[in-house]
């Protein structure tokens, strides 16, 4: 009886152990469009959910490479090519004098990439989300732990999924979230 305005189910826990045990069971049942919501980083939860390592470090590495190339290129082009700048008989382009600025631009672009990349991969900012319709869900940033399973999950079945979630140890409430 999956209706089109059903986003999915939201179950609530009040401690880390029950959350992790619950997450393992949802993972083992083969769901893919589901998530856990915790007020802080719960270690061991990534493994319990079967989350693959993020590719963010490679984006940051790329950002650093762009910053380094940009920093060296900027100094070379401005001081040696576009306006050859002869001062104190120093060479127009010499790496040792260019290291500090190249280092700073490397860090700058890599750091911006870390934040923008993290937000981008997480598809944030996203100011509206169906989960925000649940008033209980507000405790997810305070002291409660949640598992949400989306109705769009290919394995989702209104009755079977509800049965699985209601059977989780330590489950406090189950809510059908409207989208």
């Amino acid at each position: 009886m999956t209706t089109s305005d059903n986003f999915g189910y939201l179950v609530e826990f009040d401690n880390v152990d029950d959350l992790i045990a619950g997450a393992e069971r949802v993972r083992d049942a083969g769901y893919t469009r589901w998530d856990a919501h915790t007020p802080f980083v719960v270690h061991g939860l990534d493994r319990a959910m079967g989350i693959k390592p993020t590719k963010l470090p490679f984006l940051v590495l790329g950002g650093g490479a762009v910053g380094l190339a940009g920093g060296v290129g900027l100094q070379w082009w401005t001081n040696a090519v576009n306006y050859p700048f002869l001062i104190s008989g120093k060479p127009l382009f010499s790496l040792p004098a260019n290291i500090p600025v190249a280092f700073e631009t490397t860090i700058l672009v890599a750091a911006i990439m870390a934040l923008v990349g993290m937000l981008g991969l997480n598809r944030l900012p996203q100011l509206y989300h169906p989960l925000f319709n649940s008033s209980r869900f507000r405790k997810a940033t305070d002291d409660r732990f949640f598992i949400s399973v989306e109705a769009v999950d290919p394995k989702f079945d209104a009755d079977v999924t509800r049965e699985l979630l209601e059977g989780l140890d330590g489950m406090l409430t189950l809510e059908e979230v409207q989208s």
Binding site: V16, T38, V42, G44, I112, L115, K139
Partner: protein
């Protein structure tokens, strides 16, 4: 909230027990208590009257800063005490002083994170905020020192009507890049760490304006573990990037001096000496600010005595490094056999600026020696007074470096004695107005303690409840502290 008893001895968690880790959050608090305590400060409809007193004072000083800058711009650099031979006076002293203060925030948020020092979580947000506001104060001074403020954009590689570019072989330009990168990265790091806590405030907000304002700032954070996974990765990467950055910033600041040929400046010890001094002064400023804040907002159970004691230990260590640098400079001045170097250091200790030199030594080398004694490290009033003396001493360190070397260089015929004018003094005092105005606004409207991080170091946050492992990257254990078979298999692979 826990019930407070008359016996406050539970607030002392500085005893080391080799069998277990000392608790970092006291008073038997739950996750909800942490949320209520920290959000309570932001949500309290009645601002504490003391806040208005401090804010009014800070705002007045900020006005003084604005007036002094306006006077400087309309009249010219001559309103300062700068004369030949001392062309760098209080403005550069203040710049180095404020940049140095910022370093403690990045040290706490990045380096202590990489070193897995869990106690950092209670104070890192506070210290990061201090960093940003200190760097904002620092940035003003070189910008107004250039004289013609309206062409300050020439410092940046922006195409202009003269078709000229800045000289990238000058340490002053390196400084522009170092400080602006530092300010940007610190701001990103601070904001990113705040997103989950802004979401907490959003979810508790009642007033529609607060809901919208914190809702936008929180970017729609929904505590998703798939998001946390990337968030943690980004946090680690930013910490790894900010660590070399913070060490580079004061190194580059020291190049402003060390790359010149002025006696007393032209030394290779400057980068590490400046970095140690920066961390020293930064921790002193954190302690100066945090002791009244924790008392006023009753945060003794989250910012515990152990946190203060740890900071006293860091001040002792970095103060000793600074003392070592002072004596090394003297030794090298003698050992180099260079007459100008030798004279410069004798002149520092016994010349016309000897008073400044000995204020510096007393505050930076002698005062921290108190912290060898645990009784002094855990005495909040003494710690606070010592931290202020260290701030004073570190300002004088920069004064000694900048002014004593310039006032008596190679030619006795060009010697001089530098005195500041009232504009110098009021501009410096006014910069504290900017600093405290921003700081007080943050205390009132922002999450001054990283709630998500503090909750993460509480014993209940760990799978298996035992808190056997470390905060980050530990193998989950079962209730008896054993590694479950399944996890063991994964570790072996």
């Amino acid at each position: 909230m826990t019930t407070r008893t008359a016996d406050l001895s539970y607030l002392n968690n500085t005893t080391d027990d080799p069998v277990g880790r000392p608790p970092l959050v006291l008073g038997g608090r739950t996750f909800g208590d942490v949320t209520n305590t920290v959000c309570g400060i932001v949500e309290n409809p009645r601002t504490p009257p003391l806040w208005y007193v401090f804010f009014g004072l800070s705002l007045s000083l900020l006005g003084v800063l604005g007036a002094m800058i306006a006077y400087l711009i309309f009249t010219g650099i001559g309103v300062w005490g700068l004369q030949s031979p001392v062309g760098w006076g209080w403005a550069i002293v203040n710049f180095v002083f404020w940049v140095g203060i910022g370093h403690a925030g990045t040290l706490i948020s990045a380096i202590l994170f990489l070193l897995r020092q869990k106690w950092r979580t209670s104070i890192n947000r506070f210290a990061e905020a201090m960093t940003i506001f200190a760097v904002a104060c620092a940035g003003i001074f070189p910008a107004i020192h250039v004289g013609r403020v309206w062409v300050v954009y020439w410092l940046f590689p922006i195409p202009n009507q003269m078709s000229m570019w800045p000289n990238f072989r000058s340490p002053l330009l390196w400084d522009v890049f170092a400080v602006s990168t530092y300010a940007t990265v610190s701001l990103l790091f601070w904001y990113m760490g705040m997103i989950p806590d802004l979401a907490t405030i959003r979810d508790r907000a009642k007033h529609p304006v607060r809901k919208i304002a914190y809702g936008i700032l929180a970017l729609g954070w929904r505590s998703s573990n798939r998001h946390w996974h990337r968030f943690e990765s980004a946090y680690l990467l930013l910490a790894a990037l900010a660590t070399p950055l913070v060490l580079s910033v004061h190194s580059v600041v020291s190049f402003d001096f060390a790359v010149s040929i002025i006696p007393g400046w032209h030394t290779t010890i400057f980068p590490p000496y400046f970095v140690a001094g920066a961390i020293f002064s930064g921790f002193a400023m954190v302690v100066t600010l945090i002791i009244p804040t924790r008392a006023i907002f009753k945060l003794e159970e989250i910012i515990t005595l152990r946190h203060l004691e740890n900071m006293a230990k860091i001040m002792l260590a970095t103060g000793m490094m600074v003392g070592l640098a002072y004596s090394t400079e003297f030794f090298m001045a003698w050992y180099s056999g260079n007459a100008y170097e030798g004279f410069t250091f004798l002149n520092r200790g016994f010349g016309p600026y000897a008073w400044a030199y000995w204020i510096m030594v007393s505050c930076n080398v002698i005062v921290p020696q108190l912290f060898w004694v645990k009784k002094f490290r855990t005495n909040v009033v003494l710690l606070w007074i010592a931290s202020i003396l260290i701030n004073v001493g570190m300002w004088f360190e920069r004064f000694v470096i900048v002014v004593s070397s310039l006032s008596r260089d190679f030619l006795p015929s060009s010697w001089g004695y530098y005195s500041p004018t009232f504009v110098d003094v009021l501009t410096f005092v006014g910069s504290f107005g900017l600093f405290f105005t921003l700081f007080l606004l943050f205390l009132r409207f922002g999450p001054m303690i990283g709630m998500a991080e503090v909750k993460g170091v509480m014993p209940e946050a760990h799978h298996g409840r035992g808190a056997h492992g470390d905060y980050h990257g530990d193998v989950p254990t079962d209730r008896d502290g054993m590694i479950p078979v399944k996890a063991k298999r994964e570790v072996v692979q």
